[in-house]
Amino acid sequence: MRYIRPLSIEDAVGELAKAVGPAAILAGGSDLLVRMKGGFIEPELIVDIKRIGGLGDITETADGFRIGAAVPCAVLGENKAVRKAWPGVVEAANLIGSKQVQGRCTITGNLCNASPAADSVPALVAAGAKAVVAGPSGKRTIAVETVPTGPGRTSLAKGEIIEAILLDKRPEHAGDAYLRFIPRTEMDIAVVSAGVNLTLDDHGAIKTARVALGAAAPTVLLVEEAGQVLVGSKLDEATLERLAKICSGACRPIDDKRGTIEFRRKVAGVLAQRAAAIAYKRAGGK
């Protein structure tokens, strides 16, 4: 096994592109090291990206925020500006693992691990976040929901690295929220989860809405119909009922050790309702 710590994204991409055997990218390592220790993967090359300039920074741009791929979730949680603009994304990032894990793990890693139960991903999808991908043929920016393609699989090509996640600047009257169901209070993995992102018009009616579900299908689901049903409403009872029904219907869950199909369907709807209510309140809705 070879471990390298390149100083530039170009070097990292170059090493990954020419790697012969299985290669892995190391940021926080909270998924990678566990899987290596468990004997599930034996990479021949590990590329540690933490020394690459800029990857450990959160920068505020004219368009919003750029969160480097090596920014630990705990650092993200301490950033007041991001917390104010995107509280749902930050609370999702700060639910991953334990306090100790949050000191290492990153939202980019959470996205690239491609677990349908990843906590930060439904919140990022609801937020309309983008990923900046660096690769052998240059850079491109893609919607985060296009990254995972199935459990443990991504759309990234050989040699490609996500170097940052982009979040938009917030208009007035905007709010997001993320909720997950776990049987315990912490240190667990979502049985099912929901992220909701809303903007309101001047009268308090919902202008735009995005709803995403986690652990409800092989990848995190963006439920466009659920967003549409919210638009124009002030989250009245009937709208919430329809939201739950649409979310439950959109699920394609499985029975496994963490929950049943029936449970996931039902609770997906419940969590979407509750997350929508929180997001609405955060956006200033009454």
């Binding site: 049987p183 315990r184 209070t185 496994d256 963490r258 609770v267």
Partner: protein, 754 residues
């Protein structure tokens, strides 16, 4: 030496205080040596190859490639552990469980092992071992396994305990029955009858420290074993027998223990490590991974229990009956039998009958887990008792008080009780402020009782007095829950000296006579009895030495508050001699002063507890939070109250996990799906409320200080108390443990759809 173990109502100076434990600093600074912290020069790393199949014939094992790998020093299979059990069926099962002989009987069953110079080579070597399996149909569910169509796990098993030997083999190894009176007559007299069936899933003890040992077998037939265990003397006996060693030539030293809860009363890895060391000619360290701990050690039984209880309008129970099916893994056990004995032990019953069935399944061999078998039986019985109280229209506590066993009651499992604590715990609960605290929406309160036998057993202790007057106490019961502190308090009490002058250690198997293990809540009960006996023997010598120093008859020398006192008017001018004074002169008055004790600690008093629990259930998700919890339990006498409270809280915490989320989940392929702490959901700290405790002290007449065991009873009531609380919160009777959110939500949906 005559030792009188009877209770004498003495005033205590040390017992009942709360000093700091002697092992505390080492444990909080990381200096304490646990099983995996021991190392030897030249030691090898041992690893075990395990069956991926729930049930399969082992057709062949080819180890030749693994043996040729550079760095591999030994590869063993069952052939390297020849059968020396000489017709002892229980020992044969232990041997077969350590290393599968003909068939792999569960996912995780050991089939081969290697010793190599490092972990990487050991892992590679495992991959080079070729095992040819013939996969057989399997069964993991207790009810399915008990069915006559189920795949047979052992075709030589014919149910014992039936009137006639059955013609066909089955997975039911044994039927047992307890009770008295006539239940048919009793049910005929009942105005109300509740009849229900219950299930509980399999749980693991969940000790934080995995099994670990270092084994070193020498060419001369002697051997050493350093191991994390609850009973190093028992491990010595078992390992010596399985390996063909003389017991006295195998020295077993117990490490600090990071939890056992019954799970470290059974050998798994140790005979394998010894066999590897014997073959390799070098020490071998074998540490189980968490995955291995779940798949191949522990767990407790999964159960299926039917209960029927009848009562008159006035609240008198007229008859009680239960049929209990307990899984025992792929080997015979007596787990249902214990469940059948404990099920109705809290109550005074004229007509009672319990029947237990031991059921083989393709799961790991069932191991003891804290009051083994009692929590599941209590869950079923106490749920039905609650329901019956409701039907009659009586308060759940009053109904239990009316039917509680008392001194002189004939227990449902046979014996007649002495002074017991069930009534007092119920009275304490009735008047506890917790019972009157208001509840909010979606909240419910439950309570339940629990019983455990407690055990005494063989015990051997040495007490040595140094020339500086300090005391070293060597005991043979592993310190699982703070017993070195408790036993030091007892030695200080009996000798009349300060706790700080006593240092207790757990001696190895070559330093003391045989001790049963720390199980059955016996550690402090039995070793304190032996410590008192040893101290009294030392006091006799101290008196003799004082008599010699004074040149007076020994009969005139008494021992009071740590001093020899010459009694009689003519000795008026003699100042008392302290233990320290006498010890300082011991070199010239006859040499070292010591007290020894070997005894069978009989009369472990039975133990009762009553718990109260408040929960809040989210009706939309089925999520349950325990918001308040109170344990009331009889300790006989709490030697070190902090550690008694710790035992009460620990049992409740484990019970909460079991009741709400912990369970072994098997796939259709018979493989364990959740062999890790991520998906085997033990409660984390933030899941638990502060667990309130109340210690009652109803002295055990068979112990000098009135001590009863306290370690196990606290896990007996929680399943039932929480089930009663959840049922009261949601208005639906919950009959399947754990009450995980999907189960609660499914039960609520079924009720809504009605």
């Amino acid at each position: 030496m005559n030792f009188d173990p009877r209770f004498s109502g003495r005033q205590f100076a040390s017992v009942g205080t709360r000093p700091i434990r002697p092992d505390g600093i080492d444990k909080v600074t990381g200096r304490a040596r646990y099983g995996a912290d021991f190392n030897m020069a030249g030691q090898l790393v041992g690893r075990v190859l395990r069956s991926p199949h729930a049930h399969a014939v082992i057709k062949s094992i080819d180890t030749s490639k693994a043996e040729k790998l550079a760095g591999v020093k030994a590869v063993i299979t069952a052939k390297d552990l020849p059968d020396l059990t000489d017709g002892d069926a229980a020992m044969y099962d232990i041997l077969d469980n350590c290393m599968a002989r003909k068939k792999a009987l569960y996912d995780g069953h050991a089939v081969a092992a290697v010793a190599a110079i490092d972990a990487r080579i050991a892992r590679q070597a495992l991959k080079l071992i070729e095992v040819e399996y013939e996969v057989l149909p399997h069964v993991t569910d207790v009810d399915e396994a008990a069915h006559h169509h189920a795949p047979l796990i052992n075709d030589q098993v014919f149910t014992e305990g039936l009137e006639e030997k059955p013609a066909k083999p089955s997975n039911i190894t044994k039927r047992t029955q307890f009770g008295h009176g006539d239940v048919h007559k009793g049910f005929a007299e009942a105005d109300f009858v509740v009849e229900r069936s219950f299930k509980t899933e399999q749980t693991h003890q969940g000790y934080i420290e995995p099994h670990a040992c270092v084994a070193s077998v020498n060419a001369d037939g002697t051997a050493d074993l350093w191991v994390c265990t609850q009973g190093h003397f028992v491990y010595r006996q078992h390992c010596a027998q399985l390996l063909g060693l003389e017991a006295s030539k195998l020295r077993v030293t117990s490490s600090e223990i990071g939890g056992g809860f019954g799970g470290k009363t059974h050998v798994w890895a140790e005979p394998v490590a010894l066999a590897l060391s014997r073959k390799a000619g070098r020490p071998v360290k074998l540490v189980m991974t968490r995955d291995e701990v779940f798949r191949a050690s522990g767990p407790t039984s999964a159960t299926s229990i039917d209960v029927k209880i009848g009562a008159r309008k006035d609240g008198t129970i007229t008859a009680a009956e239960a049929t209990l099916r307990y899984s025992s893994g792929p080997y015979a056990g007596s787990w249902a039998e214990i469940g059948a004995m404990t099920a109705f032990a809290c109550y005074k019953l004229e007509n009672v009958k319990t029947v237990g069935y031991e059921v083989l399944v393709n799961r790991p061999k069932t191991a003891a887990y804290r009051a083994p078998s009692a929590p599941m039986a209590a869950f079923a019985v106490e749920s039905a008792v609650d329901e019956l109280a409701k039907e009659i229209g009586m308060d759940a506590v009053d109904f239990r008080i009316k039917n509680a066993a008392q001194e002189g009651t004939r227990a449902s499992y046979g014996p007649v009780y002495g002074p017991i604590g069930i009534g007092p715990t119920l009275e304490a609960v009735k008047h506890h402020p917790h019972m009157k605290a208001p509840l909010k929406e979606n909240q419910g309160r439950g309570m339940a009782c629990g019983f455990w036998f407690n055990f005494g057993g063989q015990t051997c202790t040495d007490l040595n007095i140094g020339m500086d007057g300090s005391v070293s106490l060597a005991v043979g019961t592993v310190d699982v829950g703070g017993s070195r502190a408790s036993l030091s308090l007892v030695a200080a009490e009996e000798l009349g000296i300060d706790y700080s002058h006593v240092k207790a250690i757990v001696a190895d198997t070559s330093s003391l006579g045989y001790n049963d293990m720390t199980d059955g809540s016996r550690g402090t009960f039995s070793s304190s009895m032996a410590t008192i006996s040893a101290a009294r023997n030392a006091i006799k010598i101290l008196r003799e030495r004082a008599a010699q120093m004074w040149d007076v008859p020994v009969d005139d020398v008494h021992w009071e508050k740590g001093h020899a006192i010459a009694k009689g008017e003519k000795y008026g001018n003699l100042s008392p001699l302290s233990l320290k004074d006498i010890a300082a002169k011991s070199g010239t008055t006859g040499g070292p002063i010591a007290g020894h004790s070997e005894l069978v600690a009989d009369g472990a008093g039975v133990s009762f507890a009553t718990h109260i629990c408040d929960v809040e259930v989210d009706p939309e998700t089925g999520s349950t939070r325990v918001i308040r919890y109170t344990v009331v339990q009889d300790a006989g006498k709490a030697v070190h109250p902090t550690y008694v409270e710790g035992q009460y809280q620990g049992g409740a915490a484990q019970g909460i996990g079991w009741a709400l989320n912990e369970e072994y989940i098997y796939g259709k392929d018979g493989r364990l799906q959740n062999a890790g702490f991520l998906d085997y959901r033990i409660p984390v700290c933030s899941d638990l409320p502060m667990i309130d405790t109340q210690i009652l002290e109803i002295p055990n007449p068979n112990h000098p200080y009135g001590v009863r065991g306290v370690g196990e009873t606290s896990i007996v009531p929680p399943l039932a108390a929480i089930a009663n609380a959840v049922s009261n919160a949601v208005g639906v009777r919950m009959t399947h443990i754990p009450m995980s959110p999907p189960r609660i939500l499914a039960a609520l949906d079924a009720e809504r759809e009605g």
